[in-house]
């Protein structure tokens, strides 16, 4: 070797350049291997499935749903962790360590290459996020996502991969990696599982994935510290990288990097633990309690649609569900407002009491405003659209037929008490679980049921006739199976019941309409009224409308029974229960019980349906 080469060999610059090229070349190969690793592929598949399952059928609202993408990337994070661990330990597992040691590339360079290869998984995660975003926009997503939330998922995957390399360096046993992952998963899940422990819930912000509640009633605003958590996660990823490199390489720059990562991690952890201010909580609760103050409204035909910022596109979804219902009424009301509502944000600490009051107010039911139909902050797409359209159609139909919405005070009557005792004995289990006896004069606050009222049949028909999808959904609810009931036949076998009227007599639960999530007030009707509505839907709309419109006021009168409407429309009136049930071959004692219940329902709907009859 010449003197010049000797000098070049010792040149720090040349060595660094060669080291960099070595790292990049090796990282490129390792990246390809990691991308093809079965565990990464499995993680990617599960992440895609999870995201599909989380969002399937619901119109995305990006400011709220963006956090779910990170949740969807948890399987890919686990896959990246295990795969990175496995590839780092490959040389040890396959006995090539000695050969590799004899080469010019240092072990630190090899570790650095493994760490860089994790960027492949980060790239895949970014691809998942972009695909989700594209899919969400394609189905009409509204609002703008938080950039920090979108970045968090890929960073979490990067953290998982870097941690896999670090664990391989410090605990070089591939069998221990799954155990480590299990421990990490427990750390992630445990604070959420243990609801009662304040100490453990304090750990929640320290988990790699900042848990977020999920559901149709998820408030549109939350205090999720996305940017702060991203900082924390970035710090953790930095620490994992430093831990991986530090196993074989100790230097001042690395020490500085560790110090920086610690500072970033602690800063992120501290910032994300800071509770929201009172003013911020008040503002967020106000979204739920005083929606009008935050909303914009748009007039379409006779209806005013009011929505939260970012939900303007939803009006196009609501209007087709509302218009056909109003069009079937003799004089569509001109004061109707369709207003969006969101559940209040849940907070602990200083604003906990205010939050709880808001929760109570929200969950008590709709506002009761006779001109306002309330709709939630979710909307179905695809096959789930019908459920939302039927739910909103029923809200409008109830308003159009005068069926009360919202909570009302009801004074328990002596008939209610007697009916309760007949049904349940002395200790009447109110609402299926109470142990206090019902007393006459007691005030019950809750919604009502328009049982055996013509307006209930009209409302159901109005919603059902709006579209063929609505009619089908209504039919499957009324004629659906009797959940949780085994009905013996008169030969002791289980009876197979096809007649919807027989089902209605046997089912004292309120009609299980396929209610869409996001609607505060449930639409409670009886199956018997639902059966009348189905009969009515079998008749041409043009024949039904004139009869209804001719005596509209009469049908909306709470004292007009469903049977009267049926007779006026030429529909067969439901035969008495004993006749229907005996024809269905049901055991005599069941028939007897159903007959008693039907009698009691006329005296006290409250005892039978747990709801007072609407007035």
């Amino acid at each position: 070797m010449t003197a010049a080469v000797e000098i070049a060999d010792r040149s720090v610059g040349a060595a660094r350049s060669r080291g960099r090229r070595g790292v990049v070349a090796l990282a490129r190969v390792e990246a390809g291997l990691l991308a093809r690793h079965p565990l990464v592929a499995a993680g990617l598949l599960f992440s895609a499935l999870l995201l599909y399952q989380l969002y399937d059928g619901l119109l995305p609202y990006l400011p709220r749903d963006d956090a779910g993408v990170t949740q969807g990337l948890l399987p890919l994070t686990a896959g990246a962790f295990l795969a990175a661990n496995s590839t780092t330990l490959r040389s040890r597992r396959h006995g090539t360590e000695e050969l590799y040691t004899s080469t010019a590339v240092t072990p630190t360079t090899r570790v650095a290459a493994h760490l860089l290869s994790v960027l492949t998984a980060v790239g895949l995660a970014s691809g998942v996020v972009l695909c989700w975003l594209a899919a969400a926009l394609a189905v009409g997503a509204t609002g703008l996502p938080d950039a920090a939330e979108l970045i968090t998922g890929p960073i979490m995957v990067g953290f998982g991969g870097a941690l896999g390399v670090a664990v391989a360096m410090w605990v070089p046993n591939p069998r221990l990696a799954p155990l480590f992952l299990l421990a990490l998963a427990l750390f992630q899940a445990w604070p959420g599982l243990v609801h009662v422990s304040g100490g453990l819930t304090a750990l929640v912000p320290l988990t790699p994935y900042l848990t977020k509640g999920w559901g149709a009633f998820e408030p549109i605003s939350d205090f999720r510290p996305a940017a702060e958590h991203l900082l924390y996660l970035g710090g953790l990823a930095g620490l994992a990288v430093a831990a991986a490199l530090g196993r074989r390489y100790r230097s001042s720059p690395l020490a500085l990097a560790v110090l920086t990562a610690v500072v970033v991690t602690v800063t992120g952890a501290s910032l994300q633990a800071v509770p929201p201010s009172r003013a911020a909580v008040r503002e967020a609760l106000s979204l739920s309690l005083e929606p009008a103050a935050h909303q914009r409204c748009e007039q379409r035909e006779t209806v005013r649609y009011c929505y939260y910022p970012g939900f303007a596109g939803y009006v196009d979804e609501w209007a087709p569900a509302v218009s056909p219902v109003l069009a079937a009424t003799p004089q569509p009301r001109t004061d109707l407002v369709v207003r969006q509502r969101t559940s209040p944000v849940q907070v602990d600490g200083i604003a906990e009491a205010a939050s709880q009051r808001a929760q109570h107010a929200f969950w008590s039911g709709p506002s009761g405003d006779a001109a306002t139909a309330e709709v939630g902050v979710t909307w179905g797409v695809g096959t789930k659209r019908t459920a939302f359209e039927l739910a909103l159609g029923l809200e409008v139909a109830k308003l159009s037929t005068g069926i009360p919405r919202g909570a009302h005070n009801y004074h328990v009557t002596r008939d209610d008490v007697r009916a309760y005792r007949t049904l349940y004995g002395e200790e009447s289990p109110r609402n299926g679980g109470g142990d206090l006896a019902l007393r006459a004069g007691e005030v019950i606050n809750g919604q009502c049921i328009p049982a055996d009222q013509a307006r209930a049949v009209v409302a159901l028909w109005l919603a059902g006739q709006a579209s063929s999808g609505n009619a089908a959904a209504l039919r499957s609810a009324v004629d659906g199976p009797l959940y949780g009931q085994s009905v013996p036949s008169d030969n002791d076998d289980e009876a197979v019941i096809h007649d919807p009227i027989a089902k209605a007599y046997l089912d004292r639960n309120t009609l299980e309409l396929p209610l869409a999530p996001g609607f505060v007030g449930e639409s409670r009707f009886t199956r018997l009224d639902g059966a009348y509505a189905l009969k009515l839907l079998e008749h041409p709309r043009d024949e039904v409308l004139p009869v209804l419109h001719a005596n509209w006021e009469r049908w909306l009168n709470p004292s007009t029974s469903s049977g009267e409407l049926a007779r006026a429309l030429g529909l067969p009136v439901h035969p008495p229960p004993e006749q229907v049930l005996n024809q269905a071959g049901i055991a005599a004692f069941v028939v007897q019980h159903a007959v008693e219940e039907a009698d009691l329902a006329r005296i006290s709907p409250y005892a039978v349906y747990n709801l007072p009859r609407c007035r």
Binding site: R18, G22, H94, T96, L99, S102, A104
Partner: protein
Amino acid sequence: MTVSLHEVSQRFGQTTALNRVSFDVKPGVTGLLGPNGAGKTTLLRLVATVLGADSGELRLLGRDPRDGVERTAIRRRLGYMPQEPGFHRGFTAFEFVDYVAILKEWTDRRARHVEVRRVLERVGLGDVASRKIKALSGGMRRRVALAQALLGDAELLVLDEPTAGLDPEQRLRFRELLSTNAGDQTVLLSTHQTEDVAALCGHVVVLDAGAVRFAGTPAELTALAAGRVWLATERSAGARLAWRTGDGHHRCIGDAPPNAELATPTLEDGYLLLLGDKALAVAA
């Protein structure tokens, strides 16, 4: 000298693997002979810089492997085939050699691939380069291991039992390969095959119990048996070693048995005489 050992010792716990070993290796092929446990692999691992000597002085390619920078410089000019190289069985032969090439700082992808194809062709694996290593025979895997050691025509080639597991044809091919490759290269190989040493090596070092028992040319090792190898009609009780040959004679090493005629000694005879009973296991 390419490799120079002076009073090099290496211990593993209570076991002395190398005890004050001193010898020099010049360009050309040097064979390392010795019974199992003699310290051959330990010595080769020292030369391959995967192990640091406990004491003594080792210089490789004029550099000191104890110094980190110099060690890296040595590794850049070194090819090493361990006794049990290990393979990533999911890799193809090409991928494995390519991976090692990256570790040897072949960062330019195109040049690297050309070199990988070249060495695979040299060991006769050009046709199976795209086959997974798990699908290759044991002999083919040894050749894959040899191929990676040949990358870049390293100045110092350290081969630990390169012919183990090869069939006779493959061994001949290996000899051909190494003889055409040698040139200015320094090849240090360990083997139990004395024929390989006789056929290939310009120098031979015999290790026993961690110490050098012989260092010289194959001819000098063979000469140790001059006048002590006999062909007799029956086995001699006084022979240190004796076996019946295919033509019905008894080849006896040691003192002359009655009615025996002197035979031409081989390198193996010299080796057996040098190590005596310890070599029996190897000879068998």
